[in-house]
C-alpha cells in the first residue's frame, strides 16, 4: 500500500466521519426538541419526525463521498491502485468540503430544525415552513458534496 493510497483512505474516512458526526449531533438536537412535543401531543410524531430526519442527510453525503473515493482508488472492487503522494493528497483535499461543511451544516441544520419543532407544536399547519427553513441550511452541504464528488471523479488515477 502506497502512502498516496493511505492518504486517500484517510480522506474517505474523514468524509464519512465528520459528516456523520455532524448529522448525529444535528438529528439528536431535533430529537430532543421533538420528544418534548410528542410527550404533549403524540399525534404530532410523524410531523416532527420529518424535521428530525432533515439533518440526517449530511451523514449520507459523507458516505457517498467516501464511497466514491473507495471506488475510484479501487479499494472497493477492482483492486487498490498504487497512488502517488500527489494523487493521495488530491483525494484527501477532495474529501474536505463535504467533511467539514457536513460537520458544521449538520449541527446548524439541527438547530434550525429544532427551532422549527416549536412551529410544529404551536401551528401544526405551518409545518412545511419549518421544513423549508431547515432545508435552506442543507443547500451548502449539497454544494460541498457536489464539489467533493466532482473533484473525486476528475482526479487522474
Amino acid at each position: 500500500m502506497t502512502n498516496g493510497l493511505v492518504l486517500a483512505i484517510i480522506g474517505a474516512a474523514l468524509a464519512a466521519l465528520l459528516a456523520g458526526i455532524g448529522s448525529a449531533k444535528g438529528v439528536s438536537l431535533v430529537g430532543e426538541a421533538a420528544a418534548g412535543v410528542v410527550s404533549v401531543d403524540p399525534s404530532k410524531f410523524s410531523k416532527v419526525l420529518l424535521l428530525e430526519l432533515l439533518p440526517g442527510t449530511q451523514g449520507l453525503y459523507g458516505l457517498i463521498a467516501a464511497m466514491f473515493i473507495l471506488l475510484r482508488t479501487g479499494v472497493l472492487g477492482s483492486g487498490a491502485e498504487a497512488l502517488t503522494l500527489q494523487q493521495g493528497l488530491g483525494f484527501l483535499a477532495a474529501s474536505l468540503p463535504i467533511a467539514v461543511v457536513g460537520l458544521i451544516s449538520g449541527i446548524m441544520q439541527g438547530r434550525t430544525a429544532a427551532a422549527g419543532v416549536s412551529i410544529t407544536a404551536k401551528k401544526p399547519d405551518h409545518n412545511g415552513k419549518a421544513i423549508i427553513m431547515a432545508a435552506m441550511v442543507e443547500t451548502y452541504a449539497i454544494l460541498a458534496l457536489l464539489i467533493s464528488v466532482l473533484m473525486i471523479l476528475n482526479i487522474a488515477v
Binding site: L50, L53, L54, G56, T57, L60, Y61, L63, I64, M67, F68, L76, G77, G128, K129, I131, I132, A135, M136, E138, T139, I142, L143, L145, L146, V149, L150, L153
Partner: protein, 657 residues
C-alpha cells in the same frame, strides 16, 4: 383559471326561512358569510345556544376518546385512507333523533371511566399500606398494642440494622426485644418491658432514634393485610366491571361520531346566524361566493323561498378570500402553493406556473426508474382503492405525477434500483451488460448533467421573469415591464455560453453573440433600473446597484440548481452501494439470499430518505428561486359555511368537491 373570481353576495329573505336557507347554504358550501356591519339591522345573540352545543359535543368527544382507549377500533391501513362514512341525508336526521339516548350512553361511559380512575387511585393507596404491613406480618398483636396491665410495649422501627441481643444489651432489665423484620436500612421491632421500666426504656429508645409506628386500628397486621387485599380485589372487580361496561357501550361508537358531527354542524350553523342582520320580518346575509356558483345558487334559493339575491363585484379595499381552481395537471400542486402562502390581491396563482417544473425537478432529483415505478404503483392503488378526502387525493396525485417523471428521468439515466440489472447479470450470469441508459449515465459525465441542470434552472427562472413581465404589462406599465425583463434575459443568455465555455467547448460564434447581448443588457439595466429615482445621481447609482444585485442574485439562483445533479447522484450512488453490499459474499446461494434482504431493506430506506430530499428541495427551488421573481402571497383562504364533519359525509352531491 387559477384564482376563482369572487362575487359579493347579498341575500334578503323572510325571517321564517332563515334556518332553512342557512342549512341549504351549509350543504352547498359555496358561500363565505361576512359579519353584518349595518347598524340599523339587529344582530342575534347565539352565544348561549352555541355554548350548549359545544358542551354536548365535548362530552360526546370525551366519551369517544374513552372508547378508543379501552376498545380501540381495529385500524388497518385501508381504514387510515378510507375517509368518512357516507350517510344519506335522512339517515343523519334519524341519527340525530336518538341524540338523548346517545348522550346518555356518553355520560355512562364517562361515569364508568371516572369509576375506573377512582378505584385505581384507591388501589394504589391500599397497596402502599400493604407494602408497609408486609414488614409487620409475623407480629401477632395489633399495631396499636401499647402493653398489658403489667407490661409496656413498643412497636416501631430503628433506621439501621440491629439484632435483638444488641438492643437488649442497651435496654434496662426485664425488656425483651423481638425483631419482626429488617433490612440494611431499617429494623422493625417489637419491644416489651415491665411497666416500671417504661420511662427509662423510652428515653433510651428515643436516643437511639426509635420511631413508634402510628396505627389506630386494633387488628393484627395479618388481619389488616388480608382486609386491604380483599378491598383491592373488590375495587379491581369494580374497575373490570366498569371496563366491561365501557366495552359494551363501545357499540355506540358510530352514533357518537354522528352526534359529534351533528353538533359541530349545528354549532357552525348558529355561528353563521350570528353573522346575519335582522329586521322584524326579514334577514340580510352578506358574504362572498365564487362567480361560477353564483347563478345556480340564486336559482335554487329563489325557486324555493321568497328571497332576493344580488351579486356585486367586491371593492378594491375589501379583503376578498381566495379559492384556487386549476386544470387536472396543475391542481395536485395546489397544496404546495398553500404551504407557501395563498395569492394576495395583486398576485396570480403560481400553481400553473410551477406545476410542470415541479414534476420535472422532482423526477430529476429522485431519478431512479425503479423508485418512480414504486411511487406510481403505490399511489395509483391508493387512489383507486380508498375513498379519499379531496386534499389527500390531490397530494397522492401529485406524488403519482412526480413518480411518472421519476421513471422518465430514471430511464434516461439508466437507473433501475441503482444498477441492479447490471449487478444481477454480472454476479449470477457472468455477463457484463453495460449501461442501459436511454441518454447517458450521470456518473460517466457529471459535468454534462450539471450544465443541463443549470440550463433547466435558467428556463425556470425565465418563466418567473416572464410572469412578472406579464403582470406589469397588464397593469398598463408596458415600458416598465420591458425594462424589468429584457436586460435580465440578455444578461443571463449572454453569460451562459461564456460560463459553459469553462466546462465544454462552445462555438466561438455563440460566445461572441453572448458577449454583445451581455453588453447590451448591462447598458440597458444601468440606464433604466434607476428610473424611479429623481436625481441623475440616483438614477445612475440605482442602475449600478441593480446590476450588482442582478449579477449576484441570478448567479446564486442558477448555481442553486446544481442540487438537481447532486441529489440525483446521491440517490443513484446509495442505490449502487446497496447492491454492492448485497453481492459481497462469494457463494452464489448466500449471495442471492443476502441480496434479496439487503435489496428490500436498503432500497426502502433509500427511497424514503431521498423522497423526503426530493420533495423538500423541489419545494425550495419553487419557493426561493421561482416565487421571488413574481409572487408575494398572503391571501386569505376562502372559508365557506360548509359541512365540516369529521366522520361522516353526505351522499348528496356537494358542489364544492
Amino acid at each position: 383559471m387559477a384564482k376563482l373570481r369572487m362575487k359579493k353576495i347579498e341575500l334578503i329573505a323572510m325571517l321564517t326561512d332563515s334556518k332553512k336557507i342557512i342549512e341549504l347554504l351549509q350543504r352547498r358550501g359555496v358561500v363565505e358569510i361576512s359579519q353584518n356591519t349595518d347598524e340599523e339591522l339587529e344582530n342575534t345573540n347565539v352565544t348561549a345556544v352555541v355554548g350548549e352545543f359545544e358542551k354536548f359535543r365535548s362530552t360526546a368527544a370525551q366519551a369517544l376518546e374513552i372508547i378508543d382507549t379501552h376498545a380501540p377500533e381495529k385500524a388497518s391501513i385501508a381504514d387510515m385512507f378510507s375517509g368518512k362514512t357516507e350517510v344519506e341525508k335522512h339517515d343523519f336526521g334519524r341519527e340525530a333523533m336518538q341524540m338523548e339516548k346517545v348522550m346518555g350512553a356518553a355520560n355512562d361511559i364517562i361515569r364508568n371511566q371516572k369509576l375506573i380512575n377512582e378505584s385505581a387511585a384507591a388501589v394504589s393507596q391500599l397497596e402502599i399500606k400493604c407494602d408497609m404491613l408486609d414488614r409487620w406480618l409475623p407480629l401477632d398483636v395489633p399495631l396499636n398494642f401499647r402493653g398489658t396491665a403489667t407490661t409496656s410495649a413498643f412497636i416501631g422501627t430503628l433506621p439501621y440494622q440491629i439484632s435483638a441481643e444488641e438492643l437488649e444489651a442497651q435496654l434496662p432489665d426485664m425488656c425483651s426485644v423481638e425483631v419482626i423484620s429488617g433490612s440494611k436500612e431499617q429494623t422493625n421491632l417489637f419491644i416489651l418491658c415491665s411497666k416500671e421500666n417504661y420511662e427509662e426504656a423510652e428515653s433510651i429508645l428515643r436516643k437511639l432514634t426509635f420511631v413508634t409506628i402510628s396505627e389506630t386500628d386494633n387488628k393484627t397486621p395479618s388481619e389488616l393485610y388480608d382486609l386491604h387485599k380483599q378491598e383491592i380485589e373488590k375495587l379491581e372487580e369494580k374497575s373490570e366491571e366498569a371496563k366491561a361496561n365501557i366495552e359494551k357501550l363501545a357499540e355506540n361508537r358510530k352514533q357518537l361520531q354522528f352526534v359529534i358531527d351533528y353538533l359541530q354542524m349545528r354549532k357552525e350553523k348558529y355561528d353563521a346566524l350570528s353573522g346575519l342582520g335582522f329586521t322584524e320580518t326579514t334577514f340580510v346575509l352578506t358574504g362572498y361566493i365564487p362567480e361560477k356558483y353564483a347563478e345556480s345558487l340564486k336559482k335554487e334559493i329563489e325557486a324555493k323561498y321568497t328571497a332576493s339575491i344580488t351579486f356585486t363585484d367586491p371593492g378594491d379595499d375589501e379583503d376578498v378570500p381566495v379559492l384556487l381552481e386549476n386544470s387536472r395537471f396543475s391542481a395536485p400542486v395546489e397544496g404546495i402553493t398553500k404551504m407557501y402562502a395563498l395569492p394576495a390581491k395583486g398576485d396570480v396563482d403560481p400553481t400553473p406556473v410551477m406545476s410542470f417544473f415541479y414534476y420535472l425537478f422532482f423526477g430529476m432529483m429522485l431519478s431512479d426508474a425503479g423508485y418512480g415505478l414504486l411511487m406510481v404503483i403505490g399511489t395509483t392503488i391508493a387512489l383507486k382503492k380508498f375513498k379519499l378526502e379531496t386534499s389527500m387525493k390531490k397530494t397522492l396525485t401529485m406524488f403519482r405525477n412526480c413518480g411518472i417523471s421519476t421513471v422518465f428521468w430514471g430511464a434516461l439515466f439508466g437507473s433501475w434500483f441503482g444498477d441492479i440489472v447490471q449487478v444481477v447479470s454480472r454476479e449470477f450470469f457472468g455477463k457484463e451488460i453495460g449501461s442501459i441508459a436511454l441518454w447517458f449515465e450521470p456518473l460517466t459525465d457529471p459535468v454534462k448533467l450539471l450544465l443541463v441542470s443549470f440550463g433547466l434552472g435558467i428556463l425556470h427562472l425565465f418563466l418567473g421573469v416572464a410572469v412578472a413581465f406579464k403582470m406589469t404589462w397588464d397593469t398598463g406599465k408596458k415600458l416598465d415591464a420591458v425594462f424589468d425583463a429584457l436586460p435580465i434575459y440578455l444578461i443571463v443568455l449572454g453569460v451562459a455560453p461564456i460560463g459553459a465555455g469553462m466546462f465544454i467547448s462552445v462555438p466561438p460564434v455563440l460566445t461572441k453573440t453572448g458577449a454583445y447581448m451581455l453588453i447590451a443588457g448591462v447598458i440597458m439595466l444601468v440606464l433604466t433600473a434607476g428610473r424611479t429615482s429623481k436625481s441623475v445621481f440616483g438614477k445612475f447609482f440605482g442602475g449600478l446597484y441593480a446590476l450588482y444585485n442582478t449579477a449576484t442574485g441570478y448567479l446564486g439562483d442558477i448555481l442553486s440548481y446544481s442540487r438537481l445533479l447532486a441529489l440525483g447522484l446521491a440517490t443513484g450512488s446509495i442505490a449502487s452501494v446497496i447492491n454492492l453490499i448485497g453481492t459481497m459474499p462469494e457463494n452464489k446461494v448466500i449471495k442471492l439470499i443476502l441480496l434479496v434482504i439487503v435489496f428490500v431493506v436498503g432500497h426502502v430506506a433509500n427511497l424514503a430518505i431521498n423522497l423526503l430530499g426530493a420533495y423538500v428541495h423541489t419545494d425550495r427551488l419553487q419557493f426561493v428561486e421561482l416565487f421571488s421573481k413574481f409572487y408575494t402571497g398572503g391571501g386569505r383562504e376562502f372559508a365557506p359555511l360548509a359541512v365540516n364533519t369529521k366522520y361522516i359525509k353526505f351522499k348528496e352531491e356537494n358542489s364544492n368537491d
